[in-house]
């Protein structure tokens, strides 16, 4: 009896050790490339050509300065454009998705079920497949090289809607709305000042996801923007990839990649608990 429990315990220790080893390898894979990125953006071109190093160099400021002063890569306006598009996308998508979700949650109108079904059906439809029509239509509307077509469509974000709807289903008591009506609160007022605050956790998580998605999007912006001062960061990266590579200062390339991904990683590290929880709850992204 004692022996068998000892054996099962040592088996458990072995299993646990095995799991930690696999996890350590996976974490190494996830972190290694970003560590290399951070190291390489602090080294100069010559050092980078020498191969890997685990210690940072001293050229961070020089590399940053070189990149910002490179006339061919409008980094600052790229950051600005990316930020405008991402922030407005996040804002529009969470506000209007919450509004749509509340409309379907709270009001028993005739086409309620149909509207819900339509949104669920289009939820996983990729946006890329309507690119031909989209680009032509934006051209006709005079919105090429404008940031508007990159953020305005976020008003209709089926995935965000679905998350909000689920949140309302499990967290929103209609009694509160009815009490507000008796107190004479208008429907919009109720939504803005009573319902939205209750939805705050869902709004925060979805705002982060939408921001990140918009920040990283390349396909549609790549088709719409060709003026230098309108380009977003992913387009600048693609442009560097197309440049004659061997003549280029590698340190600047690592620096641009760092600028494109580090802000997101920093925000993520601060909020990771909520984001991971949001992924588990929503079950729908990408």
């Amino acid at each position: 009896m004692k022996n068998s429990s000892k054996a099962s315990r040592s088996r458990l220790v072995a299993a646990r050790t095995g799991s930690y080893i696999v996890l350590a390898i996976l974490c190494f894979l996830c972190l290694f490339f970003f560590y290399m990125l951070l190291i390489n953006c602090t080294r100069n071109n010559f050092q980078i050509q020498q191969g890997f190093s685990f210690l940072p160099g001293k050229s961070f400021a020089i590399n940053l300065n070189n990149l910002l002063n490179d006339a061919n890569i409008p980094v600052l306006s790229g950051i600005k454009n990316s930020f405008i598009v991402s922030a407005l996308s996040a804002l529009l998508s969470v506000y209007f998705s919450a509004m749509t979700a509340y409309g379907i949650f709270a009001y028993d109108f005739k086409f309620r079920k149909a509207a819900f079904t339509i949104i669920l059906l289009i939820m996983t439809m990729p946006t890329q497949i309507s690119a031909v029509g989209f680009v032509n239509q934006m051209q006709a509307m005079g919105l090429r090289n404008s940031l508007i077509p990159l953020f305005l469509p976020s008003v209709a974000s089926p995935v965000v809607f679905f998350f909000m709807k689920q949140y309302l289903d499990s967290n929103m008591p209609m009694e509160i709305v009815e009490a507000a009506r008796i107190d004479g609160s208008g429907e919009f007022h109720t939504f803005n000042f009573i319902v939205l605050p209750i939805m705050k956790p869902a709004v925060a998580v979805q705002a982060i996801f939408t921001f990140v998605t918009a920040w990283n999007t390349y396909f549609i912006p790549g088709l719409l923007l060709d003026k230098a001062n309108k380009k977003t960061l992913p387009i600048l990266i693609a442009q560097l990839r197309g440049a004659d590579f061997l003549k280029f200062d590698m340190a600047q390339i690592y620096m641009l990649i760092t600028i494109a991904i580090i802000p997101i990683i920093l925000v993520y590290l601060v909020l990771s608990k909520y984001i991971v929880r949001g992924v588990a709850l929503g079950g729908v992204k990408g």
Partner: protein
């Protein structure tokens, strides 16, 4: 809901029109920025419509000619590439994710530091795919640091040209997709496993079941809907694969266009302003995705209805 609530219903009737007001912005923007573009994309697919030099040819109606030339030419090839790239990324992804999810939720194993591990493995999902691909290009290029290190360690006598070999290029793309998505899948599967009634495991344990038996006989059958959901959404994501292969191969899909995906093909037609062919590629993709969306819908609405019933039941109790 109907008969018993009728007095309440009458009272709420004057509010119902507000429902339309609340959902109006969503649907107006959807119609302008998604529905019209989608319809006109399908419409273009039946026309000869492209630019030759500075001249615009068409639009002239040609029926299904774009589609027939599509299927005769490169489309099967590129659809095949896309599926191959997806599969060699997805198989390790689902295996590793299932394994991790089972470990994280195993009470007996009781792994520590789960918050840390989950944070780390989910992180690559938030990285800009194009920047990630650029990073891999820089690291794995012919005289990049990976080759440099392998050579100075004496493992290679001359650089391995990752991006000139089919296996190297496809391997890198799938590896990146794996890294970007396995954390996400792990978290989804964990949530699914934690939703399984713990009583089932307790009963199985009393009956003397091993962890392996519990995993294969209880966990897997019960999380099958979520696994189906994960697989189909991953396939939809895989069909959209663009950023990583586009940046890694600089849009060429080389070597020998073995890494050209469907969306890269679409992108090439967009750049050469061949809207007829681009429309036809999109329409094919639309039809495939429509079938997949219906599958996702049936899974989601199934879940949704059962959740609703549960909630209602709870309220009546």
């Amino acid at each position: 809901m109907n008969a018993e609530n009728s007095p309440k219903r009458r009272k709420s009737i004057r509010y119902t029109r507000w429902g339309y007001v609340f959902i109006a912005p969503f649907f107006i923007i959807f119609i302008i920025f998604s529905l019209f573009p989608m319809l006109s994309t399908v419409y273009y697919s039946f026309f000869k419509y492209y630019r030759q030099g500075l001249k615009i040819i068409g639009p002239t109606f040609i029926g299904l000619e774009n589609f027939s030339s599509l299927f005769k030419a490169d489309l099967p090839n590129y659809l095949g590439n896309t599926l191959i790239l997806w599969i060699i990324g997805f198989i390790p992804q689902i295996v590793i994710s299932l394994l991790l999810a089972a470990w994280f939720t195993n009470q007996r194993l009781h792994l520590r530091g789960q918050g840390f591990f989950k944070t780390v493995i989910y992180m690559p999902n938030l990285i800009m795919a194009s920047a990630f691909a650029m990073l891999f290009f820089a690291l794995f290029s012919d005289n990049g640091p990976v080759n440099g290190t392998l050579q100075s360690a004496g493992l290679l006598s001359e650089p391995f040209r990752f991006l000139s070999s089919v296996i190297g290029t496809r391997g890198l793309i799938s590896f990146m997709n794996f890294l970007m998505w396995f954390g996400n899948t792990t978290i989804l599967l964990m949530a699914a496993i934690m939703g399984v009634d713990p009583g089932l495991y307790e009963a199985a344990e009393i009956d003397g079941a091993t962890s392996g038996q519990m995993f294969w006989r209880i966990t897997i059958p019960l999380i099958r809907p979520i696994m189906a959901y994960v697989m189909i959404t991953s396939l939809i994501g895989g069909l959209q694969m663009f950023d990583v292969p586009q940046i890694l191969t600089n849009g060429s899909g080389n070597p020998d266009r073995s890494a050209t995906t469907m969306i890269m093909y679409l992108n090439n037609h967009m750049y050469s302003k061949n809207y007829g062919m681009a429309g036809a590629v999109s329409t094919v993709l639309f039809l495939i995705c429509a079938v997949l969306c219906l599958l996702v819908y049936s899974i989601m609405s199934g879940n949704h209805d059962s959740a609703k019933k549960e909630r209602k039941g709870g309220v009546h109790k």
